[in-house]
């Protein structure tokens, strides 16, 4: 299975989900993620799975809730406006500790926005777009290979921690074609004795009215899981940081542009590298702080008005200056703009 195949990001994610053993997909069409439901509608029946084009994103995430409550691996995908509709279900999944994978191939917003890739959903993804005290694991791939690899891994993470795992991709990544080596399944097994339909008369619920502190106790149970995830699941990439004077911080498609800018800046004799968070929650705060030691400045680059930059500031806590360059509305930052900004620091 180690052959390289040219695949669209969206298709690579869909096939990776099938490799991970996901047999239940529920979704509603929205650009730029349509290749995922289209691919699933064809592939899932071939492997004995079920595809339903739901009546809405709200229905889709609740179908995932039902499928997941049986212990089956299931997923949905959408793009920004649809992910907004899924927030109700995500909150309920988080409350009931049901594992599932949600892919957001995000687009420009707010509102209907446009259909180009964007990073305006960072706050929604990492701060919990739904109600209540909960977290979702958020993985941010930057190329098609990583999109496939992280989708596969997302199912293991979801089952291990009984959490919703959100893949935050963007329209550029979803639509782009790149050679991909499809990942191999991990083969990990998970105990799902909480599921319904296994003869244990289990309840999957989120209402806790009594005793008075019942919900508080449940919140602390969730917190324990989140604390564990914060120590155990931290992914990031460092690139050319060792001798760098300036640190670019970017995730997803923005990081690709930063890579280009770094090459050109280094050709001009300016030492730059990047720190690329891959888990946006948990955010690699300590690792970024360490990476920033001895640097002169951080430039955070996003396809938004500046959202992740808040986490970057939290990470370094005033120890070095943090600048921001971003462009919202489905536009891509150009390497030239990043180069110009960094040159202005000299």
């Amino acid at each position: 299975m180690s052959d390289k195949i040219l695949m669209k990001g969206n298709e690579a994610a869909a096939e990776a989900a099938i490799i991970a053993g996901c047999r239940y997909y529920f979704g509603y069409p929205i650009t730029p993620q349509n290749e995922i439901p289209e691919y699933m509608s064809k592939r899932l029946p071939e492997v004995g799975g079920t595809f339903i084009q739901a009546e809405s994103e709200t229905a889709a995430i609740n179908m995932v809730f039902g499928a997941s409550s049986t212990g089956a691996r299931s997923m949905t995908s959408s793009s920004s406006p649809g992910i907004s509709l899924k927030q109700e279900g995500i909150s309920y999944l988080a409350a009931a500790q049901l594992p599932c994978v949600v892919i957001n191939v995000s687009r420009g917003g707010p509102g209907l926005g446009n259909i180009a890739g964007s990073q305006g959903d960072y706050f929604q993804s990492t701060r919990g777009g739904g109600h209540g005290d909960y977290r979702t694991i958020v993985l941010a791939p930057y190329n098609c290979q990583e999109l496939a690899d992280l989708t596969l891994e997302a199912f293991d993470l979801a089952d291990e921690y009984r959490m919703v795992v959100l893949i935050l991709a963007d329209g550029f990544l979803g639509q782009m074609s790149e050679p991909v080596v499809l990942p191999e399944p991990s083969g990990k097994k998970f105990n799902k004795d909480w599921a319904v339909g296994i003869g244990r008369k289990n309840k999957v619920a989120s209402l806790i009215l009594s005793p008075e502190d019942g919900l508080t106790k449940h919140n602390y149970v969730l917190k324990e899981v989140y604390d564990k995830v914060e120590t155990e699941v931290r992914k990031y990439e460092e690139y050319m940081l060792d001798d760098a004077d300036y640190l670019l911080c970017a995730y997803g498609s923005s990081a690709r542009i930063c890579k280009q800018a770094i090459t050109e800046l280094r050709n001009k004799g300016i030492k730059v590298g990047y720190f690329r968070p891959i888990t946006l929650w948990p955010f690699p705060y300590d690792e970024l702080l360490n990476a920033s030691k001895g640097k002169k400045k951080i430039l955070t680059v996003e396809m938004s008005l500046g959202q992740m930059v808040e986490d970057v500031k939290l990470a370094v806590n005033g120890s070095i200056p943090v600048d921001f360059y971003g462009i919202p509305g489905g536009m891509i930052p150009t390497p030239e703009a990043i180069i110009e900004r960094v040159e202005s620091y000299e």
Partner: protein
């Protein structure tokens, strides 16, 4: 050996527990009818999807697996469960706000897909759980906390008839409206619920039973007067009977 004969015993599918329902509330009756039907059909591993509404704790009163859906989403949740566990009986139990207001989309589309599930719709013409607000099935002129002068059709339209609505779709195999305001009707309700569950067991497809029910507390009536009000006011608007019983 005594000559006594057991003429009634509590359904083994019911828990030994008092419900939280108000006196004269018919949710408990409907639970019992579901439990008895499951017993009689020999089903021990049904999965009930609880609504958001007064019956949210249904899974605490029955010896079943229970999944609690978000408000109105029970048919979608039931769809997800049933598509994985096609050999289990999956019941979506819903109130009028749940099924006809916030969850109308999920209701219609699960019915239209012909999901092999059983939907039990408890129509008490009001939002019970939240304290008696107007429902899609609140009767014309009926006073609720959000229609304090009575439901006015000119302003908010007339009550929605769920069976008739679902009867416009091709896929459902069984649609029936029953009531549980007196013994004779409770027996008919039981028959309908059992048939709807049997259909699922036999893989026939989507079955829908609407049960006219009472909410004495929020109607501001005694239990006896509530049964009378149901008979006099609701039944003329919501005719009882079978709308579809398709052999497939």
């Amino acid at each position: 050996m005594s000559n006594e004969e057991i003429v009634y015993k509590k359904s083994p599918s019911m828990m030994e527990r008092e419900t939280h329902y108000c006196p004269g509330c018919t949710h408990g009756v409907v639970h019992k009818l579901i439990a008895e039907s499951l017993d009689e059909l020999g089903v021990e591993d049904a999965i009930v999807v609880a609504p958001v509404g007064c019956a949210v704790l249904i899974y605490d009163y029955m010896k079943l697996d229970g999944v609690e859906a978000a408000h109105g989403r029970a048919p979608a949740v039931a769809t997800g469960i049933k598509r994985v566990l096609s050999d289990k009986i999956v019941i979506s139990y819903q109130g009028d706000g749940d099924l006809l207001a916030i969850g109308l989309g999920e209701t219609i589309h699960a019915a239209n897909r012909g999901e092999n599930i059983t939907v039990i719709f408890v129509n008490n013409a009001i939002y019970g759980m939240t304290g008696g607000q107007m429902a899609p099935t609140t009767m014309p002129g009926q006073k609720t906390t959000t229609s304090q002068s009575g439901r006015m059709a000119d302003d908010v339209g007339l009550p929605i008839r769920a069976c008739e609505l679902i009867n416009t779709l091709e896929k459902p195999v069984y649609i029936e409206r029953v009531s549980c305001h007196n013994g004779a009707n409770i027996l008919k309700a039981k028959k309908a619920i059992k048939k709807a569950l049997l259909n699922q067991k036999e893989g026939k497809g989507y079955s829908f039973v609407e049960v006219l029910a009472t909410c004495p507390t929020n109607w501001g009536l005694t239990p006896k007067k509530a049964y009378d009000w149901l008979e006099d006011t609701m039944i003329p608007y919501y005719p009882l009977g079978n709308f579809r019983d398709q052999e497939v």
